[in-house]
Amino acid sequence: MKRREFLKVALSTLSALSISGLSTKKAMGFYACPKEFHAVLVDTTRCIGCRSCEVACADSHGLLIPDPEDKTVFKTLRKTDEKRLTVVNRFETEKGEVYVKTQCMHCCQPACVAACLVKAMKKREEGPVTWSENCMGCRYCMVSCPFDMPKFEYDKAFGRIVKCDMCYGRIIKGKVPACVEACPSEALTFGTRRDILNEAKRRIYTKPDTYIPYIYGEKEVAGTGFLYISSVPFEKIGLPTNLGFKAYPEFTVPFLYSVPVILILWPAFLLGMHYATKEGRK
């Protein structure tokens, strides 16, 4: 009996210790980093297609400012490119016209960051995915990005990779991204990702007839920094729904894990084979 009791106590103490250890570790990790990922909620039911975000974005990034009065642009499906970091597209759906803003999604675990061989792509603690000048221009990020967002300035001898940076410079100064600030219909909301998710859920729960019960970007590619809610299914408004919920960098993990194993074991094995066959032949 005594022995049993001892074992019980010992085991429970051990498990309690380990659990508390884990939880304090987690908590410390959380408190040690006061910064949280930020996110932008795109409420497609509120977007009126005024393209103020495009204008504000071009203005704050020093790009060619588009004419918001020109409504002919909605005739074709536009994509972002090296001269416009965000575009608004119009989709005809059973619930009428729906306008959808597209830009870099600022994935929580971005493929472009895992792809970059010089760490020019960085996931910042505040949430944005940014690009820096040490880039080689190999364009592997463009191959890897599931949303096809990085674009390259092909017409320059020393071009840059261009994409939305969630106005990183503004965020670290405590301001909101230019597009969010410019939006007249409150279709864009900026905040910590946690708050934004709650806000999105609140809108869906309070107006279940308006929204479909799904937040695009909550789980897609293990989470994105731009979250979408909509009144129509997302494949009807041009958002890719075949990406899965796995973080894209994880697709490269099995290969990367095999690298040290092969580099260590393979030469030893080869040398062994060399000496084995050498003995056999003589």
Partner: protein, 450 residues
């Protein structure tokens, strides 16, 4: 005292002058040797030269133009298709084609399979040149060319990137191949001692090179792991890296078969008797290896296909294209290799090798541009521009020129120096110890005479 000091000073000075002169004469002699060797040997106006020289000149012009103007001048790469033929063909196809170097290094230096010894130098040379020129293709493809050294000098090390691994392995493997080939250069220059030192490094370089090759051959496939939603499901698989590695072996062997057919035709004057005598045998053994390796690749391809459960996609044009690649350009040449080696027919083997090379080209192009973004309509798809094709052909031509230059001068094809057979030692009971080289017979004869 002073006098002696001055004299020693003087003698030191003289010694130095003498040494410098000595070195100068050596250098001068070497320069004359180089200049003499740089001159072309043989006819200048051959069909090969007449065709390739304009291509090289035009390619160099286009390359320089596009270096200063940006990628949009001359290339058709786009936001939709960021990788054109410089990466999609030169690198993706060129690297498995250069795989013969590590396969033969494995067979000859690691497994002591001496049969292939006569062709290993040419193959390593070919592999080294291929890598050197594909590095230049990468340089041309970069959008920010002058940052090419950043992953090497650590601005910054993106260690979580497969491309980082591939870049480093390219560099290190080129070094390994240079070491593997360097004894030939030392022999050409006539530095016997240096050659010995370099030869002693061959095994190490080979083992290192094989490990690097395993990883970067598969790493090229690994690059597409994150293009999951862009590759057609018939081609996307968790096992892309393994398939790329497995296919590099038959690809490399096929290139060796074609290379040996060509070099035998044009460089037979540079080949030793024993090689020409064994030529058929080597050819047959290459075919045997290729047949086996190709069948293993086919088997893995089928396994990956079953694993991905993409049967539904077979009944579509893409399915037909996939079956054409896997059966027509993998399984068929595998059997052809087998028939060729069974009948000892070099023509069948050569045909199978060309089919295999075609299969590798189709496979790699599928990954880099054909089945990549297969949903993009035809009008928006990537096609190489005339300039891109010219530059690619120029790169290949330059490589062939250098290969020819080296084979015509360095002992690429002569059989390497064979070691003396080990001396026989026999025990002489009269003396109570062993004697070598038949010494005991002489001894006995002498003893009798005495």
């Amino acid at each position: 005292m002073d006098q002696i000091a001055r004299n020693t000073e003087k003698s030191w000075f003289l010694f130095l002058v003498f040494k410098l002169l000595h070195l100068g004469i050596h250098l001068f002699g070497f320069l004359i040797f180089l200049v003499r060797e740089l001159k072309p040997k043989g006819k200048i106006l051959t069909p090969f030269n007449v065709i390739t020289l304009p291509i090289i000149v035009a390619g160099a012009f286009f390359a320089v133009e596009h270096m200063f103007e940006g990628l949009s001048t001359g290339t058709n790469v786009s936001q939709e298709f960021p990788w054109g033929i410089f990466i999609g063909f030169n690198v993706m196809v060129g690297v498995p084609f250069a795989g013969g170097a590590y396969v033969l290094a494995f067979l000859v230096y690691v497994l002591n399979f001496e049969k292939f010894h006569p062709i290993v130098r040419a193959t390593v040379l070919n592999g080294f040149l291929a890598y050197a020129f594909y590095a230049s293709a990468i340089f041309l493809d970069l959008g920010r060319k002058w940052n090419i050294l950043n992953p090497i000098i650590g601005n910054e090390f993106g260690v979580n990137s497969i491309l980082f691994l591939v870049a480093w392995h390219f560099l290190l493997y080129m070094l390994a191949e240079l070491i593997e080939f360097s004894p030939t250069v030392a022999e050409w220059v006539g530095l016997e001692r240096l050659k010995k030192i370099l030869s002693s490094m061959t095994l190490g370089a080979c083992v290192f090179g094989i490990a690097l090759s395993t990883l970067h051959q598969s790493g090229l496939g690994g690059l597409f792991m994150m293009a999951k939603n862009k590759l057609h499901p018939l081609w996307y698989s968790e096992f892309i890296p393994m398939l790329f590695f497995a296919s590099s072996i038959p690809a490399g062997l096929s290139v060796v078969i074609v290379q040996e057919t060509i070099t035998r035709r044009f460089f037979s004057h540079r080949m030793s008797e024993s090689y020409l005598r064994n030529y058929d045998d080597i050819f047959i053994w290459l075919a045997r290896g290729a047949a086996l390796a190709l069948f293993v690749y086919f088997f893995l391809k089928v396994l990956a296909f079953i694993h991905e459960k993409s049967w539904v996609h077979l009944w579509s044009p893409w399915g037909a294209w996939f079956l054409f690649e896997v059966i027509g350009l993998v399984l068929v040449p595998s059997f052809l290799f087998h028939f060729g080696q069974a009948r000892r027919d070099r023509r069948i083997i050569l045909f199978a090798a060309i089919l295999t090379m075609l299969g590798i080209i189709v496979n790699r192009l599928n990954y880099s541009m054909i089945a990549f973004k297969w949903y993009v309509p035809f009008s928006e798809r990537y096609f190489p521009s005339l300039q891109e094709i010219t530059i690619t052909l120029a790169i290949i031509s330059t490589q062939l020129w250098i290969f020819r230059w080296v084979v015509n001068r360095m002992p690429v094809y002569e059989v390497p120096h064979v070691e003396e057979p080990e001396t026989e030692r026999t025990f002489v009971p009269e003396l109570g110890f062993t004697m070598a080289n038949g010494g005991e017979k002489i001894l006995k004869k002498n003893m009798k005479e005495v």
